[in-house]
C-alpha cells in the first residue's frame, strides 16, 4: 500500500471512534455534566459489540448493542451525579473503573479472540481514484458517518430547540428551572446520549478497526476523548479537527519507523500523549476563549430546592 494511502486510511480509522465519542461527550458537557468515565463506557461498548457481533454476525446490531450497554452504564453515572448529587470528577472515575472491570469480566471468555472485520462500503467512483480513493473512500460506513455527526452536532447545538435547551441548562441551570425546564431530566438524557456515543465508538474499535477483544483494548482513548473536547473548546468543528489531527499523530510513529530511523518504540508510543498535553496547555492559555465556550455550570452540582 502506498504510504499516503496508508496514512489517510489509518488516520480515519484511528480518528473515527475518538470523534464519535468526543461528540457525545461534547453534548454531555454542554448540558453542564463532566463525564470522566468515557474510558469505561468505551470498554463496555467494545466488549458488548464484540460479543454480539460474534454471536449474531450482525455488525450493525453489535454497534447498537455496544451503544446501549454503555448508555446503561451512563445511567448509573447519571444517577450518581444528578440524583444523589455526587461530585462529578470522583463519580466519573468511579464509574469508569466499574466499566473497565465489567468489560474485563464479561469479555473473559473472548479474551484475545479475533473477528472478521466489518464490511467496507466503498463509495462508487471516488474509491477508484488512485491513492486518495482507497485512503479516504473505502471504509466501513461509520467512518463516513463521523464527520456527518460532527455537522449534525453543530447544527443540533446551534440551530435547534433541543440544542438551545441543552445549552441553557449547561449555562444557568437555576434560570432554566425557573422558566420551567427539568434540568435533571435534560442532563440525564445528555449523559445517556454521551454514553451511547462512547459505546458505539468502543464497539467500532473492537469490530471494525482492531477486530479483536482483549482487556485494556481502549488503552486510554477514553481520556483522549475528554481531552479532545477541551482541545476543541466545546465546538464540534474544532473537536473534529482535533480528532483527525490526533489520529494522524498515532500513525506518525509507524511512519517514522518505516523510514528506518532508530527511535525507541516507547518514544513513539508516547508521542500522542505528549502532543495532547502540549495542545491542551496551548489552548488553555487564553482564558477568554475557554470562558466564551465552556458551559458555565460544567462540573457543578445542581441542587434545586423544592
Amino acid at each position: 500500500m502506498d504510504t499516503l494511502t496508508f496514512l489517510l486510511s489509518g488516520t480515519l480509522l484511528a480518528a473515527t471512534p475518538l470523534l464519535i465519542a468526543a461528540l457525545g461527550e461534547l453534548v454531555t458537557e454542554k448540558s453542564g455534566v463532566l463525564n470522566l468515565s468515557i474510558e469505561g463506557m468505551m470498554a463496555l461498548g467494545a466488549v458488548t459489540g464484540f460479543i454480539v457481533a460474534t454471536a449474531s454476525g450482525s455488525y450493525w446490531l453489535a454497534l447498537l448493542a455496544g451503544g446501549v450497554a454503555a448508555a446503561a452504564l451512563a445511567a448509573v453515572f447519571g444517577f450518581v451525579v444528578l440524583v444523589t448529587l455526587g461530585n462529578q470528577v470522583a463519580s466519573g472515575i468511579a464509574v469508569g473503573i466499574l466499566g473497565i472491570g465489567l468489560s474485563g469480566l464479561i469479555g473473559r471468555p473472548y479474551e484475545s479472540s479475533t473477528i472478521a472485520p466489518m464490511h467496507e462500503l466503498p463509495i462508487p467512483f471516488l474509491s477508484n481514484v488512485p491513492v486518495i480513493g482507497p485512503g479516504l473512500f473505502d471504509h466501513v460506513a461509520l467512518v463516513y458517518c463521523a464527520p456527518l455527526l460532527a455537522v449534525a452536532t453543530w447544527w443540533l447545538l446551534r440551530s435547534t430547540k433541543v440544542g438551545l435547551v441543552i445549552r441553557a441548562v449547561g449555562e444557568a441551570p437555576e434560570a432554566a428551572h425557573a422558566i420551567g425546564y427539568n434540568v435533571v431530566l435534560v442532563r440525564f438524557c445528555a449523559v445517556l446520549y454521551g454514553g451511547f456515543c462512547a459505546g458505539i465508538a468502543g464497539a467500532f474499535i473492537s469490530i471494525a478497526s482492531a477486530t479483536l477483544w482483549s482487556d485494556g483494548i481502549i488503552a486510554g482513548r477514553g481520556w483522549i476523548v475528554v481531552a479532545l473536547v477541551v482541545f476543541g473548546t466545546w465546538r464540534s468543528g474544532r473537536v473534529a479537527i482535533g480528532a483527525y489531527l490526533f489520529g494522524m499523530t498515532t500513525l506518525a510513529g509507524l511512519l517514522v519507523q518505516s523510514t528506518g530511523i532508530a527511535i525507541p518504540s516507547q518514544v513513539l508510543t508516547s508521542v500522542p500523549y505528549i502532543v495532547t498535553i502540549i495542545a491542551i496547555a496551548m489552548l488553555s492559555m487564553d482564558p477568554q476563549r475557554i470562558r466564551l465556550n465552556a458551559p458555565v455550570s460544567l462540573g457543578q452540582i445542581y441542587h434545586e430546592a423544592k
Binding site: I97, L98, V230, I280
Partner: protein, 364 residues
C-alpha cells in the same frame, strides 16, 4: 426529580454519626456485590465471603500481605486527599509512583555492590524528588497555562509507563539478566527491613502511618491546611481572603507526587527488589478510591486503606484458589467508590420521603 419518592434538602448541621454512614453503606454494598459476582462465577457465597474477606486475615502470611499492600495505598491516598480537599484533581499518582520507583532504583542499580547504610534513605529522597518533579509538570502547566490538571496528570501516567519500559529494556536493564526487561536485583542495604519474619510485610507501614498523623495535623490544625480547604470549598472566598490559588495548586500536586514517589520506592525496595515492567498493581488509581472512601479525612483514610488492601489480597486469593479473574477486583473497586459517592447524599443532605402535602391538606 419529582419521579423519585423522596426529596433532598441541604443539611446545615452534621452529626458525628452521619459521617460514617456512607463508608458503611459502601462496604456493605461491595460485600453484597462480591457475593453476587462470585456466585455467578460458580463460587458459593460462603466461599466467596471466605476468600475475599476472611482468608486475608486468617493466616499470618496473608495478614502480612494486607499490611504490605495497605502501606502504599495509605501513603498515596494521604497525599492525594490533601489535593482533593483543595479540589486539585491529581489523577496521576500511578505515573508519579512509577517515576518514584525509577528514581529510587537509580542508586541501587548504579552502586549495585554498595554496602552503605545510607543507601535506603538516599533512595527515598531521590524517589520523592522524581515523583514530585513528575507532578510538578502538571503544576507548572496549570499555574502558567491554566491546563486542566486531570488530563495532564492522566497523560503523564501513560508517558511514565513508556519511560519505565524504555529504561528497563535499555539503560537500566540488568546486563547479566538474559535480556529480560528488568534491572539487577538490589543489594541488601537497598531493601526495606522486614516487619514480620517469613512474610513480605515491611516497615513501610510505619512510614505510612506517620504520614497519616502528619496529614491529620496539617489539615486539622495548620493554617496552610485551612487555606487549602477554603480554596477547595469556595475559590472566590479564598481569593477574597488573599489565599493564592497558585500556591494551593503547587502544594497539592507536589505533596501528592512526593507521597506517590515514595510509595514507588517502597515497592522496588520492598516486595519487588528490582525495577520491573510492573511496579504497581494500580495502586495509584486505587488510592484515589481510598482517599474518597476515607472522606478525605486522614483517619478515615486509614480505615479505607485497610479495606482496600483487604480486597486486593482477597482478590489474589480468590484468583489462585478459585480462578476468579482479576477484573472482579476492578469491579469491586468501582462498586466501592460508586456506592460511597451515591450514599454521601445521606450525610451531606437530608433525604426525606416525599409527603403528599396536598392530600393531607384536603382531608383537613
Amino acid at each position: 426529580m419529582s419521579v423519585f419518592p423522596f426529596s433532598i434538602e441541604t443539611r446545615t448541621r452534621r452529626t458525628r454519626f452521619s459521617a460514617i454512614i456512607p463508608p458503611l453503606i459502601a462496604v456493605c454494598t461491595t460485600i453484597v456485590a462480591s457475593i453476587i459476582i462470585l456466585t455467578s462465577l460458580d463460587v458459593s457465597p460462603s466461599r466467596a465471603l471466605y476468600y475475599l474477606y476472611i482468608a486475608p486475615m486468617a493466616t499470618r502470611f496473608n495478614f502480612a500481605e494486607v499490611i504490605l499492600k495497605m502501606a502504599p495505598l495509605l501513603l498515596i491516598a494521604q497525599g492525594l486527599a490533601i489535593g482533593f480537599r483543595a479540589r486539585i484533581w491529581n489523577i496521576g499518582a500511578e505515573g508519579q509512583l512509577i517515576m518514584g520507583a525509577i528514581g529510587g532504583s537509580l542508586l541501587p542499580i548504579w552502586f549495585n555492590d554498595s554496602g552503605n547504610i545510607l543507601m535506603l534513605p538516599a533512595m527515598v529522597v531521590v524517589g520523592a524528588i522524581f515523583g514530585m518533579a513528575w507532578a510538578a509538570i502538571a503544576a507548572v502547566l496549570r499555574v502558567r497555562m491554566n491546563a486542566n490538571e486531570i488530563l495532564v496528570t492522566l497523560m503523564l501516567n501513560s508517558i511514565a509507563l513508556q519511560v519505565l519500559y524504555y529504561l528497563i529494556s535499555g539503560p537500566l536493564r540488568d546486563p547479566f539478566g538474559f535480556n529480560f526487561p528488568q534491572s539487577a536485583l538490589f543489594p541488601d542495604v537497598a531493601m526495606l527491613p522486614i516487619l514480620l519474619a517469613n512474610t513480605r510485610a515491611n516497615i513501610s507501614i510505619f512510614f505510612a502511618v506517620l504520614v497519616t498523623l502528619l496529614a491529620w495535623f496539617f489539615m486539622q490544625r495548620s493554617f496552610p491546611g485551612y487555606r487549602l480547604q477554603v480554596g477547595g470549598s469556595a475559590p472566590d472566598a479564598a481569593r477574597y481572603a488573599g489565599f493564592g490559588e497558585k500556591q494551593a495548586i503547587w502544594v497539592s500536586l507536589l505533596v501528592g507526587g512526593t507521597c506517590a514517589g515514595i510509595a514507588g520506592v517502597f515497592e522496588v525496595a520492598g516486595p519487588l527488589g528490582q525495577l520491573q515492567r510492573v511496579v504497581t498493581p494500580g495502586y495509584g488509581f486505587a488510592a484515589i478510591i481510598v482517599a474518597f472512601l476515607g472522606g478525605l479525612n486522614a483517619l478515615g483514610i486509614l480505615a479505607a486503606a485497610f479495606f482496600m488492601a483487604l480486597i486486593y489480597v482477597g482478590g489474589d486469593i480468590a484468583q489462585t484458589s478459585a480462578k476468579v479473574p482479576y477484573s472482579v477486583n476492578t469491579i469491586l473497586q468501582g462498586v466501592l467508590l460508586v456506592s460511597y459517592i451515591a450514599s454521601r447524599v445521606f450525610s451531606d443532605y437530608r433525604v426525606r420521603l416525599r409527603k403528599p402535602a396536598y392530600n393531607r391538606q384536603e382531608r383537613v
